[in-house]
Amino acid sequence: MSPESLTLLAPSIPLLGTILILAARRHPDVREAVTLVTAVSLFASVCALYPVVAGGGRPRIVLLEVLPGLALFFEVEPLGMLFALVASCLWIVTSVYAIGYMRANKERNQTRFFAFFSLSLASAVGIAFSGNLLTLFVFYEALTLATYPLVTHHGTAKAKEGGRTYLGILLATSIGFLMVAIVWTWHLTGTLDFRSGGILHGAAPPGVIMALLALYAFGTGKAALMPFHRWLPAAMVAPTPVSALLHAVAVVKAGVFTILKVVVYVFGFEALQPPVMTTWLLYVAAFTILAASLIALTRDNLKARLAYSTVSQLSYIVLAAVLANQAGILAGGSHIAMHAFGKITLFFCAGAIYVATKKTEISTMDGLGRRMPLTFLAFFVGSLSVAGLPPTGGTWSKWYLLVGAVEGGHMVLLGVLALSTLLNVAYLMPIVARGFFLPAQDGWSDGIKEAPPLCLVPLCFTAVGGVALFFFPGPIFHLLGLLL
């Protein structure tokens, strides 16, 4: 099959999966089989594209012309390849986990859940492959809408409230800022294509470039730059598999992926050099990193703590992108993968603990590690990865981020990153320590054992994956090297 048709096929697979899942609503086993087959075939087709893109190819296929001179089209380049690989690989794992989780918790409306999950993945892959800003915007909005029923899955007042915040912030930022930025870019350059070296360089005075940068950075609400981060903690009312794949990987990474793409292909590094001021945005990101970490420290609910941790980690990538130098892009791009494996492990653990014990608050998890050793061990590995410590993949992205900050001459950021690592350790490690070393609270721990295998195996897999990325980061950096 030609790379071009594969490019079209990949996002169509989960779309077809959605329809089949709906069709199989009366047969849960068939339905779950459809989910798994869809996930595996999506991953396979994305993998089949890897050699082409790694070899320098950029398969491209035009879908249709929306407006005169403005088409929807896919073009797979290294960043998108990386994002699609991460999302589709982790979808398989999450599907296994989700089946275990949803069944163990006897959740209602499972068909709707799996159908929209599949639709969300189709949107995510669409974002990854989009060849211009319009295509990206279309799938960006589709992802927001497709995840809404997942966030509000339980249908309670709290879910409704969370859904409002979720939709409100994501739509307000994307319609209010991102769309203006896109229209403005179109007005200035007459194109919305992603081109190496950018399209805005020389097309506008520095003041306009700065305004556009602000519109793009804040308009991409999914990147959760403060003060537009509230939707992410609000989204935690969703069932845990949603939090794991969508709100630690697909949705949030779609946000920072957009920012990376815009910096690399719309602005281009040269457009972001002085006299264009980018330092203020670096400091906004730095502030988000620290502030979100501090808030995470104060949260007793495990998922809320992880959510704020994600807010903080996303700003690493924004920071890396806005540095607009080679090390920055290596850091930002690789952190998409590294953080994905770390954070999804942590969410899987949170879900496993909930399935096994119905506990959500950290203060009630004392001594749990001895009952659920594998889960807590995985949590430990995931924490290392998120904090960027060896032997996990997170080390590399943090390394390049430090290099990029030094190259850009931003010594203050070194301090911020060091402090942030300490904060990461401070809000994640106590959970592990409590689990293993504190005595269990009265009585309840007797009947507790590890979560069912369908939940346990995926989290072990992602934990091992986080470690493997430390030893074998080659393919990721090979892909990103193509950008430089």
Binding site: L64, E65, V66, L67, P68, L134, F137, V138, E141, A142, L145, T152, G155, A159, K160, R164, L167, G168, L171, A172, I175, G176, M179, V180, V183, W184, W186, H187
Partner: protein
Amino acid sequence: MSEHLPILLVVVPLAAAAITAVLRSGRIAWLVTLVTSWAVLGISVSLLVQVLRDGSIRYVLGGWPPPWGIEYSIDSLSAFVLVLLGGIAAIITPFALRSIERELERGLVHFHYSALLLCLAGLLGMTSTGDVFNLFVFLEISSISAYTLIAMGPDRRALHAAFRYLIMGSVGATFIVIGIGMLYMMTGSLNMADLAELIPPERNRTISVALAFLTVGIGLKLALFPLHLWLPDAYTFAPSAVTAFLAATATQVAVYVLARFLFTVFGMGFTFEVMALDRILIPLCLLGILAGSMRAIHQKNVKRMLAYSSVAQIGYVVLGLSLVSLTGLTAGILHLFNHALMKGSLFLAMGCIMYQVGSVRLDDMRGLGRSMPWTMAAFVIGGLSLIGVPLTVGFISKWYLVLGAVEQGRWIVAGVVLLGSLLAVIYIWRVVEVAYFEEASGDEPVREAPISLLIPTWALVLANLYFGIDATLTSGIASGAARLLMGGG
């Protein structure tokens, strides 16, 4: 035969209206209306094809050459609006059959179709004529039949709503006829093309006053903020099919008439450079967008909510015109078309709910997401289109509007346009939350609307998606029409 199409377009529904009034049978009246509306659609499509191929059509009525006789003049803008009218009528008539039977008394049904055909004939005439007095006559035909249509509403308050509309509409019509009289006084002509030549380009008090009378008069007809007060009641209490029909056609034709007068008759130079009308219209549109959307948020009756949303959407359309740029005009003309698709589908969805539940109050929509999945899905897609989500027509409109504002560096305009979208998120989502997250309260289970109501609704919903995914056709026609208006032709 084909050279007589412009007049057939008006004569056919006019004759059909007379026939239905005499026949005294609801079913047969419906059948006549159905055939007529499809014939109108066919004629208007062939006119559009002809105009796009060969340029504007001029048809002289009764062989009296203009400026003495009445001339019909169809260019790409009028042909585009004609196709919209024909299409909406052809889709809504099948819907009307069961919806009207349920909502109206038996004896009124055939009168309803008669009035509907009259209204359609009037709207078609306004769009195709090239004579300002003839335009006024058709305006009265369509308005008076619209008052009748609204007054037939199932709720007694429909009478009050129709009466209010009658008063306001008559004031508007009077203003229009005064304006036309002044133009005639100054130029001695009633032919649009002739007037365009004769009206002096420099400031002239009588012509200026004529412009003022016409703008306010048409503003009343199209419910331009703050002249919109008749609209919410009229839309709320009219029969469902009538609301959908009027919301998708009457205001659009009024906007067309406004564009005709401002750009063709008075000319861009006089209207916007000498008189600087944009300085009045743009702030009014922006206020209309904000005020309409905010009022919509607080409504308990969803039809009324959509009516207030219409006030805001009319603001978008007129805003596009008043930007006086190629992009702005394209945006206005596109949104005229797109808004008809959105509101048509949303009001038809309301019609389905009215048919099954007997109410369109927000409180009565609990649990409808589950019991009427197709209707509510149609509502959600129509709502997304109203918000302006990509792959719907709303996005295309917003795209051109924001582009038009950005081109001229009007950041406030761009901001308000997008703020309006966000307000639409709020009022659409109020309905979504009630329909999908709250349990049904009633004792007896609600069932999905019959297929004969769902097909027309979904036809419009799919049109929302189709023209949002591939907008090359509509935006091509709209920008061609905009170029024509800008050319002063």
